[in-house]
Symmetry: C2
Subunit: 345 residues, 2 copies
């Protein structure tokens, strides 16, 4: 019998936990009714969790609860986290991977603490110096992977090459039928543009291109991020974080203005009625909940972070992401891509 995919969920992390976490789980279970290849482990307060589970008549074959009283608070800082968060629902979810009880862990709790304890518990893959936080971006052709979104504000060429290999592995695990292509985020597309680190990374990725399990597409500029021509976009955590937040802010600015325009007066409000279905499709396509879930890469096991404010649908998408990347053998893909280390330095 093939081993089942086991997802360890911090049921107590995020706003409205565990309610929204269990609601999200219920959506996941309904959508995967006929599958028998996974198990969900819920870490947190058994009584509260069971209360929520009872609302949905969820089968106990698929879900196992691991009780703990402790929760990582939003105010906890990464500095004191290791001392204070032991045996919390978040800690136990991550620890389950070390104990080979789970393949992946998911939390919507305190980001800084999650990154620190994940690194401490799971340790870095020995060939990788720095971990990266990878996110999913919408594009005209589907979904792209962008990393690093903020784990490391300064990166050298070794880090960026690691990120390229891990990002390509992540993409491949989600879309197994495709051979990913990778680009470096830069301020121009010509070979000589950008910082020294970028130029060195460019040359090394070009040299390595026939040994890699992905294609190297050169540089990409910010305005092309959403074209969909590149599957994996690699950058340092400072630039990636600014790009991600700028994109979020711009999207919000535009949709706020659109809403304001449509609510201007009785005539425009009336027009919304006629545009209802068009705008519904538009909203659905751009729904950020579909892209909820950042993946912490570079550790001996993947950890997924859901937005703390994600609702049940957003949390569902994070669970689904966990399922997909384990089904797509993320960790094997990463090891595969990291196979030519001597050439990197």
């Amino acid at each position: 019998m093939k081993k089942k995919i086991t997802i360890a969920i911090d049921a107590m992390g995020g706003e409205n936990a565990p309610k929204k976490n269990i609601e999200g789980l219920n959506i996941f279970l309904n959508k995967n009714k006929n599958k028998d290849d996974f198990v969900i482990h819920l870490h947190g307060n058994e009584k509260t969790i069971r209360n929520e589970l009872n609302k949905f008549n969820i089968s106990t074959d698929l879900v196992k609860i691991f009780h703990t009283e402790d929760i990582v608070s939003d105010e906890e800082t990464p500095l004191t986290a290791i001392k204070n968060s032991k045996n919390s629902s978040m800690w136990n979810a991550v620890k389950a991977q070390l104990d080979k009880e789970a393949d992946i862990s998911l939390s919507a709790g305190n980001t800084g603490v999650l990154l620190v304890i994940s690194k401490m518990i799971l340790k870095m893959i020995k060939e990788v110096n720095k971990p990266a936080l990878a996110g999913l971006w919408p594009s005209h052709k589907g979904i792209s992977v962008v990393l690093d979104l903020g784990a490391n504000i300064e990166c050298d060429e070794k880090n960026l090459i690691d990120f390229s290999e891990m990002g390509a592995a992540l993409y491949k695990s989600i879309f197994p039928e495709k051979t990913p292509n990778v680009s470096l985020l830069n301020i121009g597309s010509e070979e000589m543009k950008g910082t020294d680190v970028l130029k060195k990374t460019y040359q090394k990725l070009k040299m390595l291109s026939d040994k890699n399990n992905f294609l190297f597409n050169g540089y990409i500029e910010g305005n092309k991020l959403m074209n969909g021509d590149t599957n994996v976009i690699v950058t340092d955590g400072f630039t990636g974080n600014v790009a991600l937040k700028t994109a979020e802010g711009t999207a919000k600015f535009i949709t706020d203005n659109l809403k304001k325009s449509l609510n201007q007066n009785i005539f425009t409000k009336f027009s919304v009625f006629f545009s209802y279905f068009a705008l519904k499709k538009f909203k659905s396509k751009l729904d950020p909940r579909k892209y909820n879930g950042a993946i912490f890469l570079g550790l001996n096991g993947p950890v997924v972070k859901s937005h703390g404010s994600a609702d049940s649908i957003g949390f569902y998408y994070s669970i689904d992401l966990c399922y997909k990347i384990i089904k797509g053998n993320l960790m094997d893909q990463i090891k595969n891509n990291l196979n030519h280390l001597d050439d990197k330095d």
Copy 2:
């Protein structure tokens, strides 16, 4: 008699030049019919320019033509520009400032060449080490200034402080009634976040805050850029360029999707009819032509770069920007703000 504001325009730069340049000028002249405080100098082929001017019956009191046959091509590189672009319409427009014949110059031509020859002709302000390219961003409360958008990919704290002072001066020249506030673009708002350069800049701007002609607002994250709470946003040219292009790409992605949704089928197309006025206002508010014109700061005279593909309305906004910043005494504001140099190092 007060000296008139003189704007030197490279009439031959950009797509569809000089047609769109003169059409843009015509819009500017019509909107400023009753003003007598400016003169426009047009640099380029006299015959072609006069052909375009004749279409609009433009008064020769307001416009003077400076003939030259030479034009900077789009293929010209910054490396050979100084040799090849002498006596071009772009060169002559910038040179007019050195000769005290103009207060500001404007071109929609080759950006790299414009930056190189502007620096060569006008030279740096002696207190400033590196120039910056500043742009206007829409926000919920009006317009913000963002710099550097790509002139310098690596910046130290002295550069970022210079940019803060010059950016505040630019904002003040456009909005004389306001005291600008300045923020540093970062990946978090806490004092200890970010790179070493950012932390040092933060401390120095905080220390200098009672001596400056602007307020220091601390750090700002990418998702807050368009809130309108900060008037001037300072960053290095790499991050600024990525943020600008990511915002452009996101805006395009969203509006493309909106258009697609509204053109989906006969029913949604019909709905556009009802939403027409609402969407018209929406489009007008977000019209990028209103923000056309990047200002090259740090030289002994301001140079404005219009998008090469801007149409006549976009070019009009660039001319209007030139007029405003000279009326607002940009160069005096900059000198004013650079007045505490000993404390900076």
